[in-house]
Subunit: 257 residues, 2 copies
Amino acid sequence: MASNRSSAGDPAHTLALLWGVPLAPTAGRRGPRKAHSPAEIAAVAIRTADAEGLDAVTMRRVAQELGLSPMALYTYVPGKAELLDLMLDTLYAAMPRSTPADQGWRARATAVADDNRALYAAHPWTAAVPTTRPPLGPGLMAKYEYELRALEGTGLDDVRLDAALTHLLGFVQTCARTAADERAAQQDSAMNDEQWWEANADLLARVLDPARYPVATRVGAAAGQAQGGAYNADHAYEFGLPRVLDGLAALIEQTSR
Amino acid sequence: MASNRSSAGDPAHTLALLWGVPLAPTAGRRGPRKAHSPAEIAAVAIRTADAEGLDAVTMRRVAQELGLSPMALYTYVPGKAELLDLMLDTLYAAMPRSTPADQGWRARATAVADDNRALYAAHPWTAAVPTTRPPLGPGLMAKYEYELRALEGTGLDDVRLDAALTHLLGFVQTCARTAADERAAQQDSAMNDEQWWEANADLLARVLDPARYPVATRVGAAAGQAQGGAYNADHAYEFGLPRVLDGLAALIEQTSR
DNA sequence: CATGTATACTGTACGCCGTACAGAGATTCT
DNA sequence: AGAATCTCTGTACGGCGTACAGTATACATG
């Protein structure tokens, strides 16, 4: 996985791109018309990433897909970081936002987690993009608004509301990254996790003294057998989500008391 | 951040390297003696990563640091993935393992989390290395053994014990990745988080209709003000660790009942 | 002691990336 | 008509992991 970063450039250009607000006056523009729209570019790039992974999304490749020379893409997008921003914000904008408000916060939080998980499942490459400086476009804003509302009415103050949401989404992202890492490792080692795990277990048995690591060997064997590998993202999600919600529940209860 | 992956190659070679077990018979070896040890190579690579980040750790650079030509490094290490494995396992081996057993699982789990956090703080680049297929060397084994013991005696069965530990460590890693991403973004945008948020907030105010995103604007402003961007990762840890522990507590209580 | 061979090591080369830069062609203003 | 401004193309650079071929070294065997 190459070095992909979002929001690395000038905020003014990035926001102009995401919100579709031209920086220069659009009337009386000289020179040839643009042949493509940001939405089209995002769609093409997303399709490529979905089909062949984020590594396949190069400036050259996206340009080619649009029938452009590599450098022409830079007239549409300041750089690769902004292209990634655009891709992410486009996906955020298309996420479902239909959770009923009348089922209690726990059901709503579960829906938020599941929706995010579905996004990562449909577009695994999104898990690898750092989001400490997220693409502040209409998609992210709508997502953030919706997800905050899901956790509103729990009695948490605004700062804790944000922290609780971040905590929940961070958990989902961790699971998604684990899943994406698994997939990537499988791809470039030509072994799936179970095969890798088994091969290593056999070899480890020759060099490792079980008496030195009694708990590790016991638990490792049990866990490995249970989930067919060292780690399993689906299991981690199913185990972890109730834990995260219980943890938030304790905070909510303690706050409302 | 470049494409760094651990454990991509042949498990037999990787394990031989990590455990110091030569694959070929060591007696009567022809040709020149090796001039360096795996431990020395790991130390040099770790020092470089600490000082200049994981991107600075290239095969060329590590070789140069050892006084070797780039390709000579491949006689010590099968490839870059295995070099990373070696670096990680070396750090794992050096982690503190001194938590008293008599203070309750919550104190022990907190110590485990804090120790991992300290590792990420001392070596931020470790947060970026995927560990779904961890380096199965003596360092990781000792770490795993120690951390499992910290959570033993909680009444959880072996599979859940492993899941609980994974859950806890995943949380710590998420915080560390956030911190590392922040640092990287700061480096290559020449703006710290506070400056970046402020610049974007001003620009957003011109394109965004607050009436469309009332909760987002309110909570976003409160959260942004409260944590000033830069303290994000620390804040997330301090908020999140009690949540994670409460979540595990609920499971433990429910299991022991 | 001479010679063969396994090993450590060097130098060169390849394909790939993001993107800086210079110039060509198209379109609309004055 | 000509200038200005835009889209778009082609070339080039430095850096990455590492494949491959060749050289120097030190031991095993005769």
